[in-house]
């Protein structure tokens, strides 16, 4: 492409297009965007992707190790797993599971399994894949099972739903608080600004985890999973809004003196209109970047609280609750696969961090 043609395209491109071009240059951010989309897709189709009922316990398959799927046999492509045979180790009296080659279990696509509602309203029993036949104890345990014999892979997939949505919900509340208070602070300045800034400073200088623990522990035991979910969301977001408010305030302060704002004021536009129609659109990209940087912190908060046993409570399934099972070194020594629940946590946090980094760089495409 010749230089003049490129210049022409650059001159014609809108802000969104420019932002996207800038964003694309950050390769890691693009990859992270796909990872984030992938995880949210998993969250939406969680039950469909699960192979076993994440709540179904069975003492006969306690602490089964991860099972590999064999893709080929003597007849070519024919995915299957071997049934597992439990034996007691006569030295430690622990159950040891070994594959039993005589029992080959077929792995097929779109098999029937436990019943669930797709998207919350389409009742179905179809799952992406699973084993056909075998005893009730059999199944395909991609990541092994926990103490109660629940399939870790299915639980991880289903946990994605709560862990990711609680992050989104908290960040939404934080965003509303942040834009509102940050906006007020930046727009009016003076005494309002001083008060809000001091409040932010006070909140930031308090160690958060003890505070969360205190409030979370006071939630009544009788509350349902849904109530606890919303309470935890609120607790997390009430402390998390300060950074967003800081970003919004900074942008408002910077924009207040811009020519187009003065022009709008002279043209007789109302305060609200200037704020929402003229100023806010020019820094939405900054807000999106700040949000994607705030999300991982929210996810870590939920995971930490649930890990401590003060956040969500079983039967809710979240990454923190899964990690709670892996708290003990004695347990981990016998069933190290329980630590695999940490992998999606780290992946998602990493992806959001890179994504936020890329977005922040791209947020100001004229710079």
């Amino acid at each position: 492409m010749s230089g003049s043609l490129a210049d022409e395209r650059l001159a014609e491109a809108g802000q969104l297009r420019l932002t996207w071009w800038r964003f694309k240059r950050h390769k890691l951010a693009v990859i992270s965007l796909f990872i984030v989309i992938l995880f949210y897709t998993i969250a939406i189709f969680a039950d469909f992707l699960a192979t076993a009922d994440p709540h179904a316990t069975d003492a006969r398959r306690s602490y089964m190790p991860p099972q590999g799927i064999h893709l080929f046999d003597e007849n070519g492509f024919n995915p299957h797993v071997y049934g597992l045979k439990g034996q007691r180790d006569m030295k430690t009296f622990k159950m040891v599971y070994v594959p039993d080659p005589s029992r080959k279990l077929q792995v097929e696509f779109f098999v029937k399994g436990y019943e669930y509602d797709l998207f919350g309203f389409i009742p179905t029993t179809r799952h992406l894949f699973g084993v056909v036949g075998g005893t009730p104890v059999d199944g395909v345990f991609l990541l092994g099972t926990d103490q109660l014999g629940r399939d870790l892979y299915s639980r991880l997939v289903v946990a994605t739903r709560i862990s990711l949505s609680i992050g989104l919900a908290s960040v939404t509340i934080s965003l509303i608080l942040g834009v509102l208070l940050g906006g007020l602070s930046g727009l009016y300045g003076g005494i309002i600004d001083t008060i809000i800034q001091r409040v932010i400073e006070v909140i930031r200088s308090i160690p958060t985890i003890p505070l969360w623990m205190g409030v979370a522990a006071a939630l009544p035991n009788t509350w349902t999973v849904i109530q606890v979910y919303f309470a935890i969301t609120l607790i997390i977001s009430l402390i998390g809004w300060t950074e967003l408010a800081r970003v919004v305030r900074g942008r408002f302060l910077a924009l207040r003196e811009e020519d187009f704002v003065i022009a709008a004021e002279l043209a007789g536009a109302g305060q609200m209109r200037i704020m929402l129609r003229h100023m806010l659109p020019s820094f939405t990209s900054h807000i999106i970047a700040a949000v994607s940087l705030a999300l991982p912190a929210m996810i870590i908060s939920e995971t930490s609280l649930s890990f401590l046993g003060l956040g969500l409570r079983p039967p809710a399934i979240s990454w923190g609750i899964l990690l709670q099972d892996a708290q003990n070194v004695q347990v981990l020594a016998g069933a190290p696969w329980l630590l695999l629940a940490a992998v999606p946590v780290v992946l998602v946090i990493l992806a959001f961090n890179f994504l936020g980094d890329g977005l922040r760089d791209a947020a100001d495409p004229y710079g």
Partner: protein, 330 residues
Amino acid sequence: MLMYIARRLALAVVTCVAISVLTFIIIRLPPGDFVDAYIANLASTGSNITADQAQAMRVEYGLDRPVYIQYTLWISRVVGGDFGVSMMWRRPVTEVIGDRLWLTMIVSLSALFLTWIIALPIGIYSAVRQYSIGDYFFTMVGFIGLAIPNFLLALILMYLGFRYLGLSVGGLFSAEYAQAPWSFAKAWDLFKHIPLPACVLALAGTAHQIRIMRANLLDELRKPYVITARAKGIPERRVIMKYPVRAALNPFASSIAYVFPYLVSGSIIVSLVLGLPTVGPLLLQALVAQDMFLAGTIVLLLGVMTVVGTLISDLLLMWIEPRLRLTGHS
């Protein structure tokens, strides 16, 4: 300068008051009051008190008065050093907490020093050798450090230590010193156990601080005075260390105010995983048992100590930063 100190002091006092109000709310959050919980606790061990005695206790603790008076009564007791009695342990709260509060602060402060010692040279290196292999390497490590919640890191290290080294990682003392009174040998034992929890705690903060130092120094390095210094033939090492590094140090140092609360916060959950005798495990036990005076006191003391720590660091910062000292703001 006096204005600045006065402002910091006023803010610290306001923060402490805010923390005390929050603490009081936490103490009062569970249904029922302290006396109800006390009676339930007594009943579980078989003893009982009469309704009259319960009423007398309520009057004694002021529980029959309006909330704001209750708060005033509570806070005046606290200021006088009376934090109440732990229901779980049936001993004064201060006795139950004992050394744990100081150990929490020692662990957090060690993590803070470690953060600085690691972040400063790496930040300088990454900025001066921008886009070198080393810079990419530290950036990578930094991002991974940010992505692994510290309790997970503790868990993974413990598992690895157990699996491959046969060690039980964790604790702050060897078995023979755990119950022993303080002595030089015990302090030395503590010193030997500190590095692991300090590293676990410091990783995420270090990653963050490296980014800050790198970004600040990169901004400074592009300024004309650096070119001038080079043009005058000052050795490269002096050009960098003498001027831009010192200028870049200020935003880096002032971020300590946010790092310290974060470390104290993190130490609670890391202590649980690593079994450190800090206030972390005690706080969790107290919360689960709804031993609210113990839990509230821990939250309050942690908060206040964090504020004091931050205040001291702010004043130290003022001492090393002439711009702040002369104008009163950075």
